[in-house]
Point group: C2
């Protein structure tokens, strides 16, 4: 199986779609990179591009993408509802296959060093963070673009790459490495929202549940159902079947059944490995047995 690294940059332009197209075109012209998706939100005034490939083509595409975004986006004119700090706002690298975290961190650092060389202050986050308080994005981004000029005078906010000098057009960039995130929703045969909310509290980390689960309860008015809507942020340590079976058990306390589930968007094969092993009890199953994952 060949290496696959995913990159999902957020850039601070979601209204001028010609600009977005020019930025995406920089990714598209790199051989060995495939764009999975890109979408723009005018209200947020932000675009998200998702692409993948072997590490080298992915960093090449990321550099070209960022250079173009820096040339075309001026943060002095930016307004929008989504928190942001720079033209090239957040650039997470996500190891999908045969890429160790350390290797992905090295890629993120090379990318950060490149941006630093373009006079953009750069901060490393998540698995690439250089200190604990920079692990979480909201900590770094507090005050957003508008607070940057002041914050850069604070030695504690010295950037990991690039000058500790405010760059009014570019702002600052956060880059790093994070685990693939699974968007997983469980629909319940009841209209009682409080049941979904209680179950969300039972499974999510913040209120005593599984360490790598974020969850909320939602009403699905059009379906006469409620939903436990989740992000599973580490499917190896908190696998899908364990979460689903806990929800099934909690729902049974109220006499409520699971109507169905939803896996939203791209799913790494690794997240389904545990589904096969758990439910088939196929203890020795390996993803390498899957014919389609054989490289040609």
């Amino acid at each position: 199986m060949s290496q696959v690294l995913l990159c999902e940059p957020n850039v601070s332009e979601g209204r001028d779609l010609e600009v977005v197209e020019q930025i995406v075109a920089q990714v598209r012209q790199v051989d060995g990179v495939r764009i999975l998706d890109y979408s723009s939100d005018a209200d947020h005034n932000r675009s998200v591009i998702t692409y993948l490939g072997a590490p080298e083509p992915v960093i090449e595409a990321s550099k070209a993408m960022a250079s173009k975004a820096l040339a075309l986006i001026d943060m002095r004119k930016h307004t929008g509802s989504h928190p942001r700090m720079g033209a090239v706002d957040v650039v997470p690298f996500v190891p999908i296959r045969e890429v160790e975290t350390e290797e992905a961190i090295a890629i993120a650092r090379r990318f950060g060093s490149f941006l630093g060389g373009l006079n953009v202050p750069v901060y490393y986050y998540e698995d690439a963070a250089t200190r604990p308080e920079r692990k979480r994005l909201p900590n770094i981004r507090k005050g957003e673009y508008e607070a940057l000029e002041d914050k850069l005078r604070d030695p504690d906010f010295a950037p990991d790459e690039g000058p500790a000098v405010f760059n009014p057009q570019a702002g600052a960039t956060v880059t790093g490495v994070r685990f693939p995130l699974i968007a997983f929703n469980v629909n319940l045969h009841t209209t009682d929202l409080s049941i979904a909310e209680r179950i969300a509290r039972a499974v999510r980390h913040i209120s005593g549940g599984y360490r790598y689960v974020r969850a909320i309860g939602l009403a699905l008015a059009d379906k006469d159902m409620v939903q436990v809507s989740m992000n599973l942020v580490n499917y190896e340590k908190t696998p899908i079947p364990r979460v689903l079976e806990t929800i099934r058990s909690e729902a049974a306390r109220y006499g409520v059944n699971v109507a169905g589930t939803e896996l939203i968007g791209p799913v790494p094969m690794g997240a389904l490995d545990e589904v096969v092993k758990h439910y088939l009890q196929a203890h020795d199953f390996s993803l390498e047995q899957i014919i389609e994952l054989t490289d040609l």
Copy 2:
């Protein structure tokens, strides 16, 4: 996703491994074809080669493989315990991804026509069969190589390709298209072999079970367990979870639990699609969501 066609020829040489290597080398030298596995059995005096790729490279490799096997194997000298009819004995083409059955049949027919042009009588079987009585391999192969000369005089046994004339060195070849086969075993926490045998009878087609299941009961002496050992010959129409849950229910009649299962050898991703959908109740899940199946 790109097209993947698998080919799994059986050739009638399993003792002279130099000959086998020369035949395998013909497959290996074709760009775009990957050899998954090959193995030889001296007792059967037969080798099985498994390779895959896009349809055109696969037929190219198959022609080269067959030409070499015809040059190096002489059926007049062949003995072995496995039923066989020719040097290039059976050549099944198996659609794995993005290949319709009709397209695979066209490939099998082009391969058959090529062999016919080399004066080998060729018979189409399974999904490529030209008449119902040629669907099943044992029907065509009855009497084996030794009966060929006589059988070829019978107009009902006229070959689908090539001359209706006995070719003593090559014998005859059967080629066609079949569905991928899943080798699936369920281990039960008991030493009572009769329970595995009864469950095998409950699930297998021949004794009233699921249409696309072949099953036997076996003792696993080293594990103090018994096993229902199966071939699932159409995982779309008789999916893995349905078979497993039936076995679980039948075993429960005897107070016996499923200890684990085994998926043996290569597994097409399509067979796991139903595992995810069934057990996660993820009704709208699509294999296209799997990141690793994205072509680069």
